[in-house]
């Protein structure tokens, strides 16, 4: 029994409901919060990459104007351990002991009446370090290696035999620089205690996780911890952990008995939060003369912090990318003295795709098969590991529609064959398979006597459009107008919802809202009088429209919500919906489909100066049912821009003696600017997914995947030179 999607409002390109608040500067972000009486905290971070703190003298800092406390590992209480989450273990607690494990590790928190005072005093904290040589190179033999930490390696068939028997083999090594998420919003925490109750404004994509973490760390009841984040200034995965600075702010507030606010500086955004791990991949493929992939051996190594548990799994999606009978994946991390690598948009997938799609491009030239055709030949008509049918799959359409719309066949496929004056022209493409991950979700829908509803869930809108799509879906399911729906999210006191991350929130929340709408309709039917035509009907026998319910087969037999609630004098009626798609997937008898896409790009390269510029970029995407065509397109565009950054600019550079990040500013760490980005074309194809209750597949991350490979492939087409490491910069191209 489900509430029916009417497609009346769903999918329509409504303006973002929070657009006006954001365009007027009225949307409150964590850094905009101030609480009367708050003190300001700043972090003092380690200038060494490894070693030990011999002594800390904070006398001068404590005596400085306005300073209320200097907190270090020497005077902080023992902290509890935050629990494991669905996305892995927590970061190492701050101030655990005297060891320094990376440059920029938090060494002290200085709290003062004003931020300027705290900053000045932080310079007066005298820390005596015993310096060790940090391990910073993934090839350093001293570095500890972790193998198959998640147990997700695949060993299917006999890869070595298949490689040995293949007519054409491929063996390539790929490197990707560490990238830093760098949302524009500086991560901020404002913490206020009332006894054992904590209210905390925090830059997070996952309020429930922060609540559980802080409750465990401080040994207080979870129900007393409230995490608020109505608006987050971007995250891209940075908000999927409870980071040390959040704990330290709450700690300072608890020790001082007053509210404390802390905002990271831009350089601290590089050391205090996660980033995309540095990676190295070796990919071996065995292919028949007809282009069919017989074997894949994908071996990936990623960087990992010295004592952290964020094992970046590069090969996670490789086994389901193509119809390859024999597959082996190897997942490995190397421990370095670096800040904690964690999640950054499409972690693992974006990296692995670069290797696989670059390799296919190389093979296409070797085999003399068009790159689009080669992907169609290897298309996985069923899930390549389980053999189950996909719940949806329009990858073929992505490829063919894309080729058609882009004018792919108009190009001369010969490398270095196309030019415009000094500029070489290159076309490149890539296929994309991106698995989303939906965790259990709850949402309540409360209808008042006027027939308006409030949807509640402890979810967040990180810029993806959660407020808007939740309202659209609710209005669509209940026959309401957009104005009748209010969405309340960004508060851990609301019904439990998962993270905005893994591209699964929209899927999980939509399913929960749909379930809640069905239950609300059921409750409304239960509330009708004996004489009502709705009496005794099931949800499937009625239709919600025009602010009421009517019989599906009789447009005139119905009642308005106002009438139903008014008759019983009900001020409001609440129903709770839930979804657990991970559990449902186990019995689905089909393979839950990832999002699919194809990328087509045209680039130019100035032959003499090495200037690489993107001229056109087309994304054709199968995201299942779209909740809002406008915000969906924005997700793809935004991902593509980050993909341009990955391909051409982004590289977090460590000084090899100290582990200092040599480019931890926006002047030095380059992200794409407006002028780097042409108009980006987006086409959606495909059908509502059969497994996802609302037909929705996640779109938050698929946008970034495949851009780097398409650009690198275009560079090959333009120059005849194969780029196997990212970013691709002028010095490599000139």
């Amino acid at each position: 029994m489900t509430a029916t999607i009417n497609d009346r409002l769903l999918g329509q390109p409504f303006d973002r409901l929070d657009g006006v608040l954001k365009a007027t500067g009225a949307a409150p972000y964590p850094s905009d919060v101030s609480i009367p009486g708050q003190a300001h905290a700043v972090l003092l971070q380690s200038p060494i990459g490894a070693g030990r703190i011999r002594a800390i003298d904070s006398t001068a800092a404590e005596a400085a104007p306005g300073v209320v406390a200097v907190i270090t590992h020497l005077n902080s209480p023992a902290l509890g351990e935050a629990p494991m989450t669905g996305l892995g273990g927590p970061p190492r607690n701050p101030f655990t002991d005297d060891r320094v494990l990376h440059y920029g590790q938090n060494v002290a928190v200085v709290v003062a009446e004003r931020r300027e005072q705290a900053m000045a005093a932080a310079l007066l904290v005298d820390v005596d370090y015993e310096v060790s040589a940090p391990i910073l190179d993934m090839d350093d033999p001293r570095a500890a290696v972790e193998n198959n930490a998640w147990g997700l390696e695949t060993h299917d068939g006999d890869v070595e035999a298949a490689l040995a028997g293949a007519q054409v083999t491929y063996d390539g090594t790929f490197r990707i620089a560490p990238e830093t998420n760098n949302p524009i919003g500086l991560f901020t925490t404002v913490a206020e205690w009332d006894g054992d109750r904590l209210t905390i404004h925090d830059s997070t994509q996952w309020p429930m996780m922060v609540r559980a973490s802080l409750a465990a760390v401080f040994g207080v009841p979870e129900a007393g911890v409230r995490v608020l984040v109505p608006y987050l200034g971007g995250g891209f995965g940075n908000g999927l952990r409870t980071w040390p600075h959040t704990i330290l702010t709450a700690l300072a507030a608890r020790m001082l008995g007053r509210p404390v606010k802390l905002t990271l500086t831009r350089p601290q955004m590089f050391t205090s939060l996660g980033h995309r791990a540095q990676s190295r991949q070796r990919l071996r493929l065995g292919v028949g003369g007809d282009g069919r992939m017989l074997a894949m051996d994908h071996d990936a190594t990623a960087s990992l912090a010295a004592e952290e548990t964020n094992f970046s799994a590069i090969v996670i999606g490789s086994p389901e990318a193509y119809a390859t009978p024999n597959v082996a994946t190897h997942d490995r991390q190397v421990r370095l003295n670096i800040p904690n690598p964690s999640f950054m948009r499409a972690p693992g997938h974006a990296e692995a795709n670069f290797a696989i799609e670059s390799a296919l491009d190389e093979l296409s030239y070797q085999l003399g098969i068009d790159p689009v055709e080669l992907r169609l030949i290897n298309h996985a008509d069923v899930h390549p590991r389980s053999g189950l049918p996909w719940s949806s799959n329009a990858l073929r359409e992505c490829l063919t529609v894309g080729a058609e719309q882009f004018g792919w066949n108009d190009r001369n496929p010969e490398p270095q064959s196309m030019r415009d004056g000094n500029k070489l022209i290159g076309y490149g493409m890539a296929g994309v398979t991106f698995g989303w991950y939906a965790a259990p979700c709850t949402a309540t829908i409360t209808m008042d006597s006027a027939g308006s509803v409030i949807v509640r869930a402890a979810a967040t809108d990180i810029g993806t459009g959660t407020y808007t799509v939740a309202a659209q879906l609710t209005a669509d399911l209940l026959g309401l107008s957009m104005d009748d729906v209010t969405v309340k999210i960004g508060d851990s006191d609301l019904p439990p919802a998962p993270q905005s991350g893994g591209s699964g929130l929209a899927v999980a929340l939509a399913a929960a809202v749909q379930s809640g709408a069905a239950k609300l309709i059921e409750a409304l039917i239960d509330a009708v009088g004996d004489s009502s035509p709705l009496r005794g009907k099931t949800v499937d026998e009625v239709v919600a429209e025009n602010g009421g319910l009517r019989l599906r087969d009789d447009a005139d037999a119905g009642e308005t919500f106002r009438e139903i609630l008014g008759r019983h004098g009900l001020d409001h009626l609440t129903a709770e919906g839930t979804s657990d798609l991970a559990a449902a997937a186990k019995n689905a008898k089909m393979a839950t489909a990832p999002a699919f896409a194809a990328r087509f790009v045209e680039i130019t390269i100035d032959e003499d100066l090495g200037l690489l510029r993107v001229k056109r970029l087309l994304s054709v995407v199968d995201g299942g049912r779209l909740l809002n065509a406008k915000t969906a397109r924005s997700q793809i565009i935004g991902g593509a821009v980050m993909g341009i950054g990955m391909a051409m600019f982004e590289d977090t550079i460590y000084d090899q003696d100290t582990g200092r990040i040599a480019n931890a500013t926006f002047g030095d760490y380059l992200v794409p600017v407006n002028a780097d980005v042409p108009d980006l074309d987006v086409v959606f194809v495909g059908e509502p997914d059969r497994f996802s209750p609302t037909g929705v597949k996640g779109l938050g991350e698929v946008g970034v995947v495949g851009v780097a490979a398409a650009i690198a492939n275009a560079v090959y087409h333009a120059t005849g030179r194969r780029m196997r490491s990212l970013p691709i910069t002028i010095d490599q191209l000139m």
Partner: protein
Amino acid sequence: MAEFEYLRPDDVSGAVATVTADPDAAFLAGGTTQLDLMLKDRIIAPTTLVDITRLPLHGITGGSDRIRVGALTTMEELAADERVVLHAPFIREALLLGASTQLRNMATIGGNILQRTRCRYFRDPMVAACNKREPGSGCAAVTGAARMHAILGAGPNCIALHASDVCVPLMALDTVVQIQGADGERSVPLAEFYTLPGDRPDIENVLRHGEIVTAIDIPLLPAGMNSGYLKVRDRVSYEFALTSAAAAVWVVDGRIADVRIALGGVGTIPWRAPEAEQSLRGQRAGTRAFRAAAEAAIHDTFTVPGTQFKVELVKRTLVRILQTVSGVTS
């Protein structure tokens, strides 16, 4: 961050006297360098800031052959000046390819000339080894991650780049800097204004403490001389140059009658290329001559692994801008 006194004198001589008298005082103009280094990077800490922005050092005077630009004229204002547009368009190009509009509305020409290097080792107090901050402490950039760094006028003591764009065409034009100090006024050609790092990278120019740049005099280009500025960088916009070149060329009957060349993104100071100019005068305009000029321009380089590519890139940058301004691409 140290606290400081803020003063706003009424006239230039008062400002000069105040700073001259106090070794820990500094001038404050547009603020985009000074405040960044003081309040954000925290590598300088004057105890008195003397705000000169209300002094009468604004505006542009002169004619079609020469202009005087008040030191407090902003980058946007100079870029919009009609004489510049008509008689030295490469100044406008260089200005508009630098920074962002917001910064160009704040940053002054005086401040641009005096801007400090973007070297991240210089700008990070956590880095101990920086001869520019602390002579004798060493240079972390030489063994570090250097890319946006100098290859000309550089050495093991310092590879900090002078990152100005507009100074490149200003150098090519024989701009003169007007200076006022406690002892009076003096003029210094821009070419003699900057000092190479040598063993004192902390000293960047001939300005004495308390002296103020009041204006610059820019000789404009004669009619018939085409000019252009080419900036090569990773991003399309809003990034310092990896390499750049300013060139003005007068081609008569296919031969180069006169030429001015300066280079950016490569020097510890804005880099005039007299050998290139010399090699081109009287030559037939063409890629062969341009390449020879580029070879003549680049010598005595000091590179580290991250800057090696600039040696060739700057030559190609110069060849390209010469092709563009001469209209001869073969």
